[in-house]
Subunit: 530 residues, 2 copies
Amino acid sequence: MMDGSMQPFRLTLDKFLDHGAKWHARSEVVTAGANGAVQRLTYSQLRDRAKRVSTLLKKRSVRFGDRVATLAWNTSAHVEAWYGIMGMGAVCHTLNPRLAPADIAAMLLQSQARILIVSADLVALAFAVAEDAPEVTSILVIDGDVPSEQDGSRLRIEALEACLAEADGAGPEWGAFDETAPSGLCFTSGTTGAPKGVTYTHRSSYLHTLRLLQADVFAIGCKDSVLAVVPMFHANAWGLPFATPAVGAKLVLPGRRTDGESLARLINSEAVTIAVGVPTVWLGLLEHLEAVGGDVPSLQRILVGGAPLPPALMERLESRLGVIIQTSWGMTELSPSGTVAHPDGGQRQAAFAGKPAIGVDLLLTDEQGVTLPEQRNVEGHLHVRGAAVVERYFGQDEPATDADGWFATGDLARIDDDGNLIITGRAKDLIKSGGEWINPAEIEAIIGALPSVSLAAVIGRADIKWGERPLLLVELRREETVCDDELLGALKGRIPSWWMPDRVVRLEAMPTAPTGKIDKLQLRKIYGNA
Amino acid sequence: MMDGSMQPFRLTLDKFLDHGAKWHARSEVVTAGANGAVQRLTYSQLRDRAKRVSTLLKKRSVRFGDRVATLAWNTSAHVEAWYGIMGMGAVCHTLNPRLAPADIAAMLLQSQARILIVSADLVALAFAVAEDAPEVTSILVIDGDVPSEQDGSRLRIEALEACLAEADGAGPEWGAFDETAPSGLCFTSGTTGAPKGVTYTHRSSYLHTLRLLQADVFAIGCKDSVLAVVPMFHANAWGLPFATPAVGAKLVLPGRRTDGESLARLINSEAVTIAVGVPTVWLGLLEHLEAVGGDVPSLQRILVGGAPLPPALMERLESRLGVIIQTSWGMTELSPSGTVAHPDGGQRQAAFAGKPAIGVDLLLTDEQGVTLPEQRNVEGHLHVRGAAVVERYFGQDEPATDADGWFATGDLARIDDDGNLIITGRAKDLIKSGGEWINPAEIEAIIGALPSVSLAAVIGRADIKWGERPLLLVELRREETVCDDELLGALKGRIPSWWMPDRVVRLEAMPTAPTGKIDKLQLRKIYGNA
């Protein structure tokens, strides 16, 4: 005791909203509704409402560590649910409404959530899910009315808003638990394997948020207006509902509508300075603005991640919108941010994912997980370590890390002399042809850079002689035509000749997962057999 | 265990240097020497050397929790000592060479450090100190040669550099302890009372550093060159030796010379973008540049703290140097940063100290410590709470906080509608005259704003009739003259008439404490009696 001490201070997520409400009481959370209508709440109002969500959940016997699920779009009511659940020490299990009901139910069977908080327009889905998830007994509807016909269901269905009215009085204290308590549960997208649950803790998401706030990372400040297009059901919406109240930035939520026209309207009405989402969303914005001759003068930066950004799209976005594109790399298992390109837009390429900030460390290994002797300018299997990286998946006994604590990402990568990360492919996407590896990502990068091409994917197609042979699938830009020879000609001399795809398939619309990534599982199912 | 988990990650300070060395290996720490010479080390080189300091200390039987003291200027060798000491889990006790030997010895008696790491030009002081500090047995000299005559002292005196040569081989592992382990010890400046030791922990300084890195706070990034004029013996040098390697910024250290000419040369040769120090230092820079007609084009921001900034000086600095001045408020007890004005230089006044960032909370109370019902636009006694705020002073049994965990700063303050903190005075500086309080800070602010005035101080002078009466002391700007009536005339109508100082004293040079604050203890000693 003679040593002296500093004050105890638990790193719990409720502190972000408390801080925003107290020190940036007038900063707003804005939610887009139908026909350009918006709903506005101050952080102070939002905090009061989130407190009442906690009170309600306590009345409904939710206790510390219990999972409470959400099936909802990006709206302030969803943010209130997050803080209401997490603040009291329950675990917010975010569900992706774009998945099949049976897949969602399988996740609920694992998390055993009894209460589902559901957007009004997703109630039918929630009912379908609940049929296979018997633990679910209660549905609380947000952002709309409770449907009148209820099919004599065993489920209790109510409007959350109506219940809040009775949730007065003393609720549970926020943050009255250890900072390592779990706060969230999110399953991986499953584009390369079975979905696995990642349990975020208050501490891990708190430290992740502080990383985002750094001047070299997301650099979000009190004067920013931040549009979170990245869904709240996907890896904490990249931590934006934590980062914005932490500094008093305006948080702008698009609700269900993320088409180009809706986003352009919202960006202009809310003077958005930073917009965050997957590449396809920004393609939609760009095409809308090009079609109508519109502009987004307030927008300074677009943070892109979740899927590779075609260089041509990056260039078009920067030149047409006058913004800086910040590329990034992350995963559900990383909370989700791993690396982010510098916000000042210096030395940049679409393939660059930036450098790790303090709290993230990277390692390249060979196929067997042995550290490569040289860590720069060679391709290796990417491993990651840090305060916001998964150690063990939900419900699993075995750690997801190796003996030294490294998590194998499944990505292939290079790191240049300056420490910039370049993701070169997914280990699981590699094609084995005649006993040698072909990296689809390299072919996709070249084809994706062609001005006529919107999206490109290369998958392995079963082949009797070679085991697998590469197949190129392309979605062309509107009104563009290009023959196969032209497409494949772009590859000549830039890839080994035996990497040349045997066939080209044109798609009206590339199948994408709800996260915006090209759904290679789907492509392989349809086109992978000889 | 079914819950899943995120990776363990201890918030220990060695991680900052490890990160800088690995991911910003070419970023430099630059130390100014004599005649414009500079010494350059990369973070990678500095880390190797700091590791060897740890190895040496281990050989000298320094163990976890032991205090090792430094008595040194801002140099890379001092930074190496910091990381060498803290990395292995020992506690770095920074001593202020501008204090009297007996005062320094009194601090060493408390910390019981056996080893002193000393700048070559402070060895004589170290010997004088050691006479009253019998625990000290060893002096390791940095930044110069060991003096040849040693007076047959009981002290072992060696050049640290020479010892490092033998300190090869496996040293102690860095960061292999709990993150709440103590990392540093620094005594308060004692301008208002007896110096008290504040024990920083790895966790508290780590979280303090992450706060500084926020885009709304110090906003230090990898492209910055940061001049740390604030001494390393004063409250962690505001955390700059932690913040710079954490993001790979260049760290520029002035050594002993902090005169205007030396600083201007260093700023220009190292393309400094951010400079950090107390107001008097920047007055020196300004006067030098004005005298020689020089300029500092790379400099973007000056972070000022440690003492009130006269509004006239702020305006001169901004207009003459073309920089943004970031005012701030802090204390040794706060690690030391409390609040910082926004880096974009928007809505600003010299008196504004900015808003608290996440991790710092403020409260205003009355004299008895009772929370004021209204927290905005009223003056109160300022309390603070947070992850990097003292809980209990070194060697004391009683906490320094109240029952709710608030630390009473001794400052008087107002908070405006936007949440900006304005320090209005020191509670201990208040003058009681005829049973009523006079706040010297308000008078000082008005007088300090006069163009002819460089520094102003108001103290209470013993008075038989009134108890105390205010006395105004001024240091005028070079070549300025102004009569008493003119000075006092500026106060008319702006303060209660009975606050009017009875007398004006002109000083050639205002006495300042080593921290740059006006030394009111000294002024009271000389001028406080009737």
